[in-house]
């Protein structure tokens, strides 16, 4: 009886539920699936299927553009790791202050200031950052990209870290202090390990956001300095070749790997 009754309000029984779900999934994933499949196409054509081959993957690493892509990928990786590390460190401190700082004036304002960059159109941030670097005569290059990425990654790292921290009762730190730990020991031995899943999630999110950023990077990068997204864009401007699809598929693979790690890390809840 009870199951029959609740089934009436089950969203799955709504008319068109299945059709709409399938449509949404199709719109979301069809382009990715197409790109992934055609990255294994042996043809020079983008759309004519001629058979399975890894030639475009080989082309990425050995072809005429391979030098450019390798340098760009290395830049992207260095920037993403450094920017995510710095952003995570700053976000951890910010979350500690916001969540453990007690009630202070301008707390709501502080939260707004930390998360506002998420809402600001990226092009505005890009222009503002460029003007800022010009104003202080900071020569554009890999450093400007790194600084800009660090700045806009902070809110992405902050959100999972502070969410995690809010779930940690302060009685753990109190118990540590009660058991003769000083403030630093209470932080490093108790709070940090408990926050670790949030910190790792924050780092991964910041890493992905930095890795695939195009707009801000394109504005603040110096001449001749490319990251993977700007290199891909530059290459596409001269006509799309299947090697772009191979790079995209590899990037997609990295993203999926990162998201998967993040998922398992957050599932390993060490407070329970």
């Amino acid at each position: 009886m009870a199951t029959a009754k609740s089934a009436k309000f089950d969203i799955k029984s709504y008319t068109g539920f299945k059709a709409i779900t399938m449509l949404c999934l199709f719109v979301l994933y069809a382009p990715l699936v197409v790109v992934t499949i055609y990255s294994f196409n042996s043809s020079v054509s983008l759309t004519n299927w001629e058979g399975v081959s890894f030639r475009w993957y080989v082309d990425v690493f050995t072809g005429p553009e391979s030098g450019k892509f390798k340098a760009a990928a290395l830049n992207s990786l260095i920037i993403a790791i450094s920017a995510a590390t710095m952003a995570t460190a700053i976000a951890t401190l910010a979350a500690t202050g916001m969540v453990r700082g007690g009630k202070f004036k301008l707390r709501a304002v502080s939260f707004g200031l930390i998360s506002l960059p998420l809402m600001v159109p990226e092009i505005v941030t890009a222009v503002a950052t460029l003007i800022f670097f010009n104003a202080i005569s900071f020569e554009r290059g890999i450093m400007t990209i790194l600084l800009a990425h660090t700045a806009f990654c902070i809110p992405f790292a902050y959100l999972p870290i502070s969410a995690r921290m809010q779930g940690i009762e302060d009685s753990y730190e109190q118990a540590a202090m009660d058991l003769y730990a000083n403030k630093r020991q209470a932080f490093t031995k108790i709070l940090m390990p408990l926050m670790m899943p949030g910190i790792i999630s924050g780092f991964i999110l910041a890493f992905i956001v930095s890795l695939d950023d195009f707009i801000i990077t394109n504005f603040v990068k110096g001449a001749g300095v490319e990251t993977l997204p700007t290199a891909i864009f530059g290459s596409v401007k001269q006509g799309i070749k299947p090697n772009i699809m191979a790079i995209s598929t590899m990037l997609l693979g990295v993203s999926i790997l990162m998201v998967t790690i993040s998922y398992f890390v957050s599932k390993a809840d060490n407070t329970k």
């Binding site: 540590a176 009660d178 003769y180």
Partner: protein, 363 residues
């Protein structure tokens, strides 16, 4: 052995204010060495605030706290040789049971192996040796409670603070833990300060109880003092069950006060300081101090009729209606039914008590 009268914790005129709100209004009390001391009161009475002030988690707005003669109210928690058993236990979830118990010892500078060895001994004391490699989440509530106890006792604090540690346990386990705690206190000889809102728990375990309400100390004394000689209405009402009656004092003679209950009923009580002739005050009589008979017994007797009998397992509770006067609750123990009578509802009878069973209360 230190002398029995040595003072472990001395709270002197301690005040706690949060902005405009006063959580604790000028409290002074001394807790003796080797004592099982309980802070008892309803939620919001300030008992946990006082405990947290002793632990160092709350600052003292005014006044001072001494620990064996040393002033401690300005020291951080990690500089005070007291340990706390938290209400939610606050066991470190990412550490094993053994590492939890060893934590305090290590922070105090013991080597890792020495700390673990002592922690193992503590786990033996609370009979949890076989769980030492598990994480807290793999233990039951009662086991976690014992780990919290072992962790707090391991660094051998001068005073152990317990913040309602039994409130999350079920009744049976709670009763067993009450005895275990009491035994542990006797064995270790450490001063325990126990916070609870459960008056029965307080009466069972404590050497002395401080009853608190609305940020003030209401009464401080041994369990029997508090139960049998409550100072005021709050204490009489909060501790145990009682008949609280509004009376007017008609006459005071030879240390005895004649009280009028309404409807022509009169009772004689011992005189209490601060209660004069003509004052309207309250009077408390414990239900188990009353007994029923069909003719007036020696002592104080009041005529009434039985309204209702309620069977509550070990006792029978009888509601007695005094003509034109207040209702009385009389409790008769089932084991006493040979000596004491139970009347059917509607029967006229007398409610009796010894002189002194009824106590006048100030305010």
């Amino acid at each position: 052995m230190s002398s029995k009268e040595q003072i472990a914790i001395d709270v002197r005129d301690a005040v706690k204010r949060y902005g405009d709100f006063t959580a604790l209004k000028t409290i002074s009390l001394s807790i003796k060495d080797n004592e099982f001391f309980t802070l008892l009161g309803p939620s919001g009475c300030g008992k946990t605030t006082l405990l947290r002030m002793i632990a160092g988690f709350e600052d003292v707005t005014e006044g001072a706290i001494f620990l064996y003669g040393d002033e401690i109210e300005n020291l951080p928690p990690n500089k005070r040789p007291v340990n706390t058993v938290f209400q939610n236990y606050a066991l470190f979830p990412h550490m094993t049971i053994l590492d939890n118990v060893a934590f305090g010892l290590e922070m105090r500078g013991a080597g890792k192996s020495e700390a673990r060895k002592k922690a193992g001994e503590m786990l033996e004391l609370v009979q949890l040796t076989q769980f030492s490699t598990r994480k807290p989440s793999q233990l039951s509530g009662g086991q976690q409670q014992r780990v919290a106890l072992a962790r707090a006792l391991a660094p051998q604090p001068k005073v152990l603070l317990l913040d309602e540690p039994l409130s999350a346990l079920d009744l049976k386990l709670r009763k067993a833990m009450q005895l275990e705690l009491k035994h542990l206190q006797r064995e270790t000889g450490i001063t325990f300060i126990f916070v609870t809102h459960d008056q029965e728990e307080a009466l069972t375990m404590s050497d002395r109880i401080a009853v608190m309400s609305a940020g003030e100390l209401q009464q401080l004394g041994a369990p029997t003092d508090i139960y049998e000689r409550p100072h005021n209405m709050f204490v009489a009402d909060f501790i145990g069950e009682t008949n609280l009656l509004e009376v007017s004092v008609d006459n005071i003679e030879n240390g005895r006060a004649i009280c009028h209950l309404g409807g022509g009923h009169e009772l004689t009580c011992n005189e209490v300081e601060g209660v004069g002739v003509g004052s309207k005050v309250h009077l408390s009589i414990r239900p188990e101090r009353l007994f029923m008979s069909d003719t007036p017994a020696e002592g104080e007797s009041l005529k009434g009729s039985v309204k209702e009998n309620i069977f509550v397992g070990t006792d029978i509770t009888t509601i007695v209606d005094l003509q034109d006067g207040p209702d009385f609750v009389v409790r008769t123990s089932n084991s006493d039914r040979g000596n004491k009578r139970i009347f059917e509802p509607g029967t006229e009878m007398f409610v009796n008590m010894e002189l002194g069973a009824a106590r006048l209360l100030v305010d």
